[in-house]
């Protein structure tokens, strides 16, 4: 089966990838292939702005839903030459995979009332 190449900017019809809802659109586009075991290239070519909200909604949710092994074997993220964005994508993956990390920031409420 040929690898499918999905362009983020085509999926969200924008060069700006900053909202949760845009991230969810990208997730829905990718997960179709991942759930049927098809390899996907997710290209960020032409994207001008990217936030963690977007990355978490697509990358983080993919890892949360399908697991690290499955996503690593099927999804290849390309065309991310921005150092800050690379960090965001790495963090989204960790958040999706590692529940401990995901909950690390959820501080105890009692801290507020100490």
């Amino acid at each position: 089966m040929n690898m499918v190449r999905l362009l983020v900017k085509d999926i969200i019809s924008s060069t700006v990838a900053i909202s949760n809802t845009a991230g969810l659109k990208a997730f829905n586009a990718v997960q179709k292939y991942v759930s049927s075991g098809q390899e996907v290239i997710l290209s960020f070519a032409g994207i001008e702005n990217l936030t963690s909200a977007f990355c978490n909604a697509v990358i983080g949710k993919l890892y949360m839903q399908f697991g690290e092994k499955h996503v690593d074997s099927l999804v290849k993220v390309t065309d991310v030459d921005n150092e800050v964005w690379q960090e965001k994508i790495r963090t989204a993956k960790i958040l999706g995979v590692d529940e401990k990390f995901r909950n690390a920031d959820q501080e105890n409420l009692s801290q507020l009332f100490a």
Partner: protein, 284 residues
């Protein structure tokens, strides 16, 4: 239309801190529950007002106009010129986002009004108006990328909690000689408490606690729907700390200012509708 006496701030300087926001809220308090009246805010005696606070003044004017009130600003001297250069005077005269506004000194960042989901115009604002700016030429590409990212995260975060279709007001100012940048984003939505109260099962019941909860890295994000994440304000606070700066958040009648030390919180004279997020970054 009845005309109220001009309000003159009790200080001669209004900066991006709790005292500054409290001063602006004292004026706003005078206008609450009034309809069809005229108010005047006399800033003509001010020695200084941070230009980024034009976003707060614009939001106040917008709210008053919704109540069919008229708001007149009296400005003079340096304050007048600063507010002319950043487009506030045009906004006050009914011309928001006036394309003819130009700041030849390049120290102000224009006041802009965004509708929800104007992701592309907001990105262009950051790239062109913020970082196409004389004051930022010393920043490396990675630093610019990081700042664009932080501002975009705040913008996205505001829409998440604001739950509003009303406009968002953005404005900034560079102080090139001090290597300092100030930026304020104002929304007219729900504020912090509503969603945080729901998320914590009622354990958080004040705006100040809701802001602090968010600053600690907690999130109201619907993880099942939008995937993991949140904690954006915590990471921005860390970034501000590294830059000797601070993040100040107003929600309702409470504010929290988080810099390098403990979070300072306080009360305003009245609740502003929605929330305001200000970043002060130094050592740029």
């Amino acid at each position: 239309m009845s005309f109220n006496p001009a309000y003159i701030p009790t200080t001669t300087s209004i900066e991006t801190n709790g005292i500054g926001f409290r001063e602006l809220s004292k004026f706003y308090a005078k206008t609450l529950e009034k309809t069809g009246e005229t108010f005047e805010l006399d800033l003509s005696k001010m020695h200084h007002i941070d230009a980024n606070l034009a976003s707060v003044l614009a939001a106040i004017k917008y709210r008053l106009e919704q109540r069919r009130c008229k708001l007149i600003f009296r400005l003079a001297g340096a304050t007048f010129y600063t507010f002319k250069r950043n487009g506030f005077i045009s906004y006050s005269n009914g011309k928001p986002n006036d394309p003819s506004v130009a700041d030849e000194r390049e120290s102000t960042i224009p006041l802009r009004v965004f509708r929800p989901d104007e992701d592309e115009p907001f990105t262009q604002y950051l790239k062109k108006d913020f970082f196409g700016h004389r004051g930022t030429t010393s920043l490396t590409k990675t630093e610019v990328d990081r700042l664009i990212n932080h501002f975009s995260e705040i913008y996205q975060n505001v829409f998440m909690h604001a739950n509003t279709t009303e406009p968002i007001f953005a404005c900034g100012q560079f102080f090139p000689s001090k290597h300092e940048l100030k930026f304020t984003l104002v929304d007219l939505g729900d504020g912090f408490l509503k969603k945080v109260h729901e998320k914590t099962g009622g354990q958080i019941s004040s705006e100040a606690s809701a802001i602090q909860w968010a600053l600690l890295g907690n999130t109201t994000r619907d993880i099942a729907k939008f995937g993991p994440g949140g904690g954006v304000l915590k990471s921005i606070r860390e970034y501000c700390k590294q830059n000797n700066g601070s993040i100040l958040i107003v929600s309702g009648a409470d504010y929290c200012n988080a810099g390098a030390g403990p979070v300072e919180s306080g009360k305003l004279a009245c609740a502003f509708s929605g929330s305001m997020v200000s970043l002060v970054l130094r050592n740029l």
